[in-house]
Symmetry: C2
Subunit: 336 residues, 2 copies
């Protein structure tokens, strides 16, 4: 197996991707291709010992930054690390790809270069949140706005396959994000989507509410990408708000500082529980081969988690399973 | 001034409303009307000393529970505490009303009994969140789904008036909730709403994202009630998730418990900061007279905060100011 990494994407590139790649070839025994400016990558690589036949570097002189318009950037920067990596994936020179760079550009590269699975109307970005009762996938979290019911049904099916394959959940429960639990609740899209989800080959549990995002009552929460994006960023914002409040709490006074010393183990545990790095990145589901978006702020640990995730995604044949699921989706389309 | 309270609504009724009412007549010097089952209310009232001429009880034998269909309940239960209270407000037998009961039923009573301000297309429920830099109003948080741009513009104007009058913010900044900060970002509704907000008599700062809900960069966040409801419940769910995690953290071990003793002051401060009771209830804006929805779990302190809020809403003539603002809204309608 070979994972292609856009080594220039993210706040800590190329340092973090290189460190994680070195660790991955040593500990996971998989091949890695680092794509980016060869001079910068080798400068980092020189610091480490690793099996050279497992880790190759492919040069790409350009970089797509976070401030560029995605479609334009992907179309014009043919020699950017992201576009080169996507082309390698498409040409079967690797089994999955990972980037910590511009999310929009990765979506565009996924769609235009790696390509949509035939029958998938719109690929979606899923994200796994560390909820109270276990991991929860929120899908779509930003790739698609103004969805139709069939899009949401496909998101639910793809999310369900992901949670089954990557997290080993036998029959993932699926909820439809709404403003109330009863079947009649929701905006127009949600109300129209509900009956389709009931008929889909899914363990559909009905509507869920915002509070269910972090309690983990269901394994997959399906929604339009507009609301998914707002919810994800609300969770992130709330996390950072509380993180700072806890920090303030423990540095406000001398007794508080002493308290922090005693409570250190617990604080560490809480931090670990809320750490986005534990679950890797966000998979782009519905494209022909596994594409993972790592968090822009990823450090070595986060990139390493995302590599493990990419490996699982390949090993468990997620793209194949999504293709198989389309038998149902095709039927839905006919009905429309 | 006289505030009408539905004494039977909420988890702690009639105990909490009665206690808060007694405190209000004594400390705030305002009149209170408690509406509900007279026998139950007087049993609670007997426990306290208070100026009897300031606090009257009006009997209503029925109660609308949280499990009833709102419109049906309001139409059929003419003698419920909620409906009687709303009719009293309409008949000018009080200046504002407050209920901790069924949210949907309060909305319906507000619309059908108290009545929409002429020119307001759809009244909205606002909620004030304790964000990092200060209070933030999220409006609409659940009264309206499938909005049109003109609805959102009116929500923004009403929220802005509320934050100015109740919190004394001179020129409240307003953001439009979206999935990106740039003007072109958003779903169809958001994109259509943006130019109207730019022209409205508002301190409009452009799009804001989910993470801005809890950081307080703007004073008012306007959105459709579907996404507003999902966001509010996500924040609540995340708050309870973290609350439990902090509790676990401090009870996990003996050192942690000792730590908690030292950090007690800080923990208390954090709790206070995240306490929904500090900011009172959710105002229903756009109806003829002030209507406030208190949290269903309100204790005495929360009901008392909501009474203070109702008092401020009356004193600062919010309904009159909303009526005046309609000069602009009327122009918008003509343009449509």
């Amino acid at each position: 197996m070979k994972i292609i990494i856009d080594a220039m994407g993210g706040d800590n590139a190329p340092k973090a991707p290189v460190m994680a790649a070195v660790r991955a070839v040593k500990e996971l025994g998989i091949g890695i291709v680092l794509v980016g400016r060869e001079s910068e990558i080798s400068k980092e690589l020189q610091k480490y010992d690793y099996p050279h036949d497992m880790l190759e570097t492919v040069n790409a002189d350009d970089v797509i930054t976070n401030y560029e318009e995605p479609t334009k950037a992907v179309r014009s920067k043919k020699n950017s690390s992201l576009v080169v990596a996507a082309n390698m994936l498409k040409d079967n020179r690797g089994d999955a790809m990972l980037s910590m760079g511009n999310t929009g550009a990765l979506l565009v590269a996924g769609l235009l270069i790696v390509g949509r699975i035939k029958g998938i109307l719109r690929p979606a970005l899923g994200t796994v949140l560390p909820a109270k009762k276990g991991p929860v996938m929120l899908i779509d979290m930003g790739a698609n706005t103004n969805c139709r019911p069939q899009n949401i049904v496909q998101f639910a099916i793809m999310g369900s396959i992901y949670m089954k394959n990557v997290f080993g959940i036998a029959d993932p429960s699926v909820g439809l994000l709404s403003n109330g639990e009863e079947e009649g609740k929701g905006d127009e899209l949600t109300k129209k989507t509900y009956p389709y989800l009931k008929e889909a080959p899914l363990n559909f549990c009905g509507n869920v509410e915002g509070r269910d995002v972090m309690n983990g009552e269901v394994d997959v929460i399906a929604c339009d990408g507009f609301v998914g994006n707002v919810v994800l960023k609300t969770v992130e914002g709330m996390g950072s708000f509380i993180g700072e409040a806890i920090k303030d709490m423990f540095t406000a006074s001398i007794p508080a500082k002493i308290g922090a010393l005693f409570a250190f183990g617990g604080i560490k545990k809480l931090r670990k529980r809320m750490d986005y790095r534990e679950y890797g990145g966000a998979p782009l589901l519905g494209v022909n081969k596994p594409v993972i978006k790592g968090h822009g702020a990823s450090d070595e640990k986060a990139v390493y988690s995302a590599i493990i995730q990419a490996k699982k995604t390949v090993e468990t044949n997620i793209c194949e399973d999504i293709k198989k699921s389309l038998l149902f989706a095709a039927k839905e389309e006919e009905r429309e």
